[in-house]
């Protein structure tokens, strides 16, 4: 006979203000199986957990119901309390009377109380059918996969590798470095991005524990935490990296010119190229789309000029398979395309450029040798207007969120402009200046004073051409009047947006993403680097816009998580897996077909007691099973049950109110 203990939490005032907790306790005391019920201000606090431990011992309870916040919040906490009292932690059920009652029915205490009672009844009924479960041990493959070789991926890879754990780093482009490699100087210290990044890139290339696979993409991930199998497509580079010395003869002679992505298309690169001089690995690849040898079979100059004979036009894409235990996703971000801002004349006026284009111009290794010039006539601009929040914080045009870095980089741009063109004047149209960060506010203040930039609070409504100038019409909200600024060049602080391939990647990895395409963390505050899928972690802007220090911190946090996961030889796994009742299994193997993880295999068992004749039944691989329950619902014989969510448990819930 079940003996259930029920503990109802006030959650301070969070529950108690909207649900009559004592009445709930009285109601659950009426249930036959409930042998103990009480209330407390904070069940999750130490004294609260102590009450649970004491009651378990004193009342010989066989299962526990805690009526409090969402089980997604404190289920683990209370399970621990059960363990401490010597009880199997899986005999716990949580009735979610905060998120599902007190917080959502704040205007109707009676109804909220009734609902809380029902939720408690359901939890009690479910707990009666709870069974003792034990954690499952699975072996771990101690190798990590890092997807993306920007600063986030580099940092994560280095930190993991420094802990002597092998890392596979996959980068889509020919070189690692990511967006940071395109930056000139970085806020708020104005140190050169290349100077701080390239040593790390070199470390990656030379690290004994890092296997760098550039110019490649992850195409398949199978398995589960600790035991993933990844398939990586290495795109044909047509250059044998083993023999290539990176001398550069090939790209100097290549006749085909292509807009240079690294420089935002401001200048041209060749069809055989390294993205930038400091690239790692510093080996060229052939752009198959534009190489005339590959598209038309004409040319072949690069092969002729290569002393080492490293050019191989017959090279094919290659599939690489690796067994790994954890994944860090660091796919970065895309710059948002400001095309929807038609009133600014985006696309019509050449002298409107984006912030990253400006960044390339002022960069010492950039296409204009560090001097900003007007794309229309090549003149050096004097009056430059910077417009912030282009896309960001604009529900109608772009994106609801704040891109977080634009205030700071625009400030940086005003300084850079001032450095490069001493007689220039910068105007900044802004909504707010968000400078939360160590040294950020000081940086902004100093820049305003040093550069003499004119800050205009307000949105720009229109940009039109007047002669060879651009007229920027906007609102100065502080003066409450329309202002017009004559500009030589306009720089748009375009929003940070999620990589457009993120949804595809998320599907491939089996993780979720939000409405913008950013990958979703397991908990916004308490598990910001984990995903909901065990063993997959997030670093950098692929989760949300963030600046470099934050990205690096998150990458290191990922590394810590991965190292923690690999700390032992085996890993503990939730016991919420499917189980098969051989007696009822008819061996139809439909479950094998619906299992997304291939966790169900077949097994031969005797027909009856002591029989030599065999029949085939299904068998669950506990290590692989993730506990989705697909097999349970399709099993007509009801031979499969999912521990923790068995049919009796759920049906008990249904019939308990």
């Amino acid at each position: 006979m079940a003996r259930v203990g029920v503990f109802v939490c006030f959650c301070g005032a969070n529950i108690a203000d909207y649900v009559d907790v004592p009445q709930v306790v009285e109601e659950v005391k009426r249930i036959k199986e409930v042998k103990f019920a009480t209330e407390y201000k904070y069940m999750c606090s130490d004294p609260g957990q102590g009450m649970i431990r004491d009651a378990i011992v004193q009342n010989k309870l066989t299962s526990i119901v805690v009526a409090a916040c969402s089980p997604r919040m404190h289920e683990k906490t209370f399970r621990k309390a059960l363990s401490d009292a010597g009880m199997n932690p899986y005999l716990l059920e949580v009735a979610n009377i905060r998120e599902h009652s007190s917080w959502v029915h704040q205007k109707d205490k009676k109804a909220a109380t009734e609902k809380a009672m029902d939720l408690c009844r359901m939890a009690v009924a479910k707990s009666i059918a709870n069974e003792q479960l034990h954690e499952i041990s699975v072996p771990v493959t101690k190798r990590a996969l890092v997807i993306g070789g920007g600063i986030a991926g580099i940092q994560a890879a280095l930190d993991i590798a420094d802990a002597r754990i092998p890392v596979v780093l996959v980068e889509r482009s020919p070189s690692i470095g990511g967006k940071m490699a395109q930056l000139d100087e970085t806020f708020p210290t104005l140190d050169c991005a290349q100077c701080i990044l390239t040593p790390k890139m070199v470390d990656v290339a030379s690290h004994p524990y890092i296997e760098l696979i550039p110019y490649s993409e992850v195409i398949e991930l199978q398995g589960f935490v600790g035991n993933y199998k990844v398939r990586i497509k290495k795109k044909a580079s047509y250059v044998n990296f083993k023999t290539c010395t990176g001398c550069g003869a090939c790209w100097q002679k290549c006749p085909v010119k292509v807009p240079n992505e690294y420089n935002m298309g401001i200048d041209k690169r060749k069809a055989i190229y390294t993205p930038f001089p400091q690239a790692v690995p510093n080996k060229p690849v052939i752009d198959a789309e534009h190489c005339t040898m590959l598209t038309k079979g004409k040319c072949g100059i690069c092969a002729k000029v290569c002393d080492k004979g490293s050019i191989d036009y017959t090279m094919q894409d290659e599939i690489i398979e690796r067994e790994i235990g954890a994944v860090v996703v660091a796919t970065g971000y895309d710059m948002w395309d400001p095309k929807p801002y038609e009133e600014y004349g985006v696309g019509r006026f050449k002298d409107i450029i984006t912030s990253l284009e400006f960044e390339r111009m002022v960069s010492a290794n950039g296409p204009t040798n560090g001097v900003p010039i007007r794309p229309s006539d090549g003149k050096v601009p004097k009056n430059v207007v910077f417009i912030k929040c282009v896309g960001s914080r604009d529900e109608a045009k772009g994106i609801e969120y704040c891109s977080k870095i634009c205030c700071m980089y625009t400030t940086k741009h005003t300084i850079l402009l001032h450095h490069k063109v001493h007689d220039s004047h910068a105007y900044v149209f802004y909504m707010d200046i968000r400078a939360a960060g160590k040294g950020y506010e000081e940086f902004v203040k100093k820049a305003q004073v040093d550069t003499g930039t004119t800050y205009l609070r307000g949105r720009v409504s229109k940009i039109y051409k007047k002669g060879d100038k651009l007229m920027v019409r906007g609102e100065d909200a502080q003066l409450g009047q329309v202002v017009e600024v004559e500009a030589d060049m306009v720089v748009l602080a375009t929003a940070v947006s999620a990589p457009k391939d993120n949804p595809d990647l998320a599907r491939l990895l089996g993780i979720s993403y939000d409405k913008y395409g950013y990958l979703s963390e397991a908990h916004p505050k308490l598990r910001p680097v984990e995903t909901a899928k065990a063993g997959i972690f997030l670093a950098g802007c692929t989760q949300a816009p963030k600046d470099i220090p934050e990205t690096v911190s998150q990458a290191s946090a990922c590394a810590a998580k991965v190292c923690g996961l690999f700390a032992g030889d085996t890993m503990k796994k939730d016991p919420m897996v499917s189980t098969i009742n051989n007696e009822y299994c008819s061996g139809c193997q439909n479950c094998v077909k619906v299992c997304p993880y291939g966790a169900i295999v077949t097994d031969d068992v005797p027909i009856g007691h002591g029989s030599k004749e065999l029949r085939t039944v299904a068998k669950i691989n506990e290590g692989v099973c993730q506990g989705c329950g697909s097999c349970v619902a399709i099993c007509r014989s009801m031979a499969i049950n999912l521990a923790g969510f068995t049919d009796p448990q759920i049906i008990n819930e249904i019939v308990s109110i």
């Binding site: 969402s70 089980p71 997604r72 919040m73 979610n96 905060r98 998120e99 599902h100 009652s101 917080w103 959502v104 029915h105 704040q106 205007k107 109707d108 109804a111 909220a112 009734e114 609902k115 029902d118 939720l119 359901m122 949804p503 998320a506 599907r507 089996g510 979720s512 993403y513 939000d514 409405k515 979703s520 909901a532 899928k533 919420m576 619906v594 997304p596 993880y597 993730q626 506990g627 989705c628 329950g629 697909s630 349970v632 619902a633 399709i634 999912l642 969510f645 049919d647 759920i650 049906i651 819930e653 249904i654 019939v655 109110i657």
Partner: protein, 162 residues
């Protein structure tokens, strides 16, 4: 078919049966852990208010939902059921909601065929980020079922509903 709400609320399937005064429907909500349950938690954290008629059961995935649960719910306490899972393509378990979607359509049509109003069996995709959507869905389902009146078909005989 539109339910007529007159002075007295009748059961849409059996119009001769009149709802008791102050009748409030009970809706059984079966939510997947990763998207819709998390979404409903977000509704709570955001303090978005919705009608108190829904009772929530947590399951790992919408594919765990056996049509049995719907049938049993409708035969016992519930006047309607809502099953909610991850958006197509977003299933935490890769493909669970695709399998579930087929079962749900057939179950819904079958129950409708044998006499249940189609609004008694409702489905939604609510992601972990869609707190407001969850509230909207519950609002709609509750409203729909209030219009339909109490469910009397094949109820467990002789059990008093509270």
């Amino acid at each position: 078919m539109e339910a007529e709400v007159k002075d007295q609320l009748v059961s849409i399937e059996k119009p001769e049966l009149i709802a008791p005064p102050n009748w409030e429907p009970v809706i059984m909500g079966i939510l997947c852990n990763w998207c819709s349950y998390a979404g409903s938690d977000l509704t709570g954290t955001s303090r978005i208010q919705y009608p108190p008629n829904i009772r929530i059961i947590r399951v790992p995935c919408s594919s765990r939902v056996d049509p049995w649960f719907l049938i049993k719910s409708l035969q016992t306490t519930a006047d309607g059921v809502l099953v909610s899972g991850c958006h197509p393509g977003d299933c935490h378990y890769i493909s669970g909601n695709y399998f579930a979607r087929r079962r749900f359509l057939v179950t819904k049509k079958l129950l409708n065929f044998v006499g249940f109003h189609e609004n008694r069996i409702q489905f939604s995709w609510v992601s972990a980020a869609e707190g407001p959507k969850f509230a909207k869905v519950v609002n709609k389902v509750t409203e729909d079922i209030k219009k339909l009146g109490p469910l009397h078909l094949y109820k467990k005989e002789n059990f008093e509903k509270k």
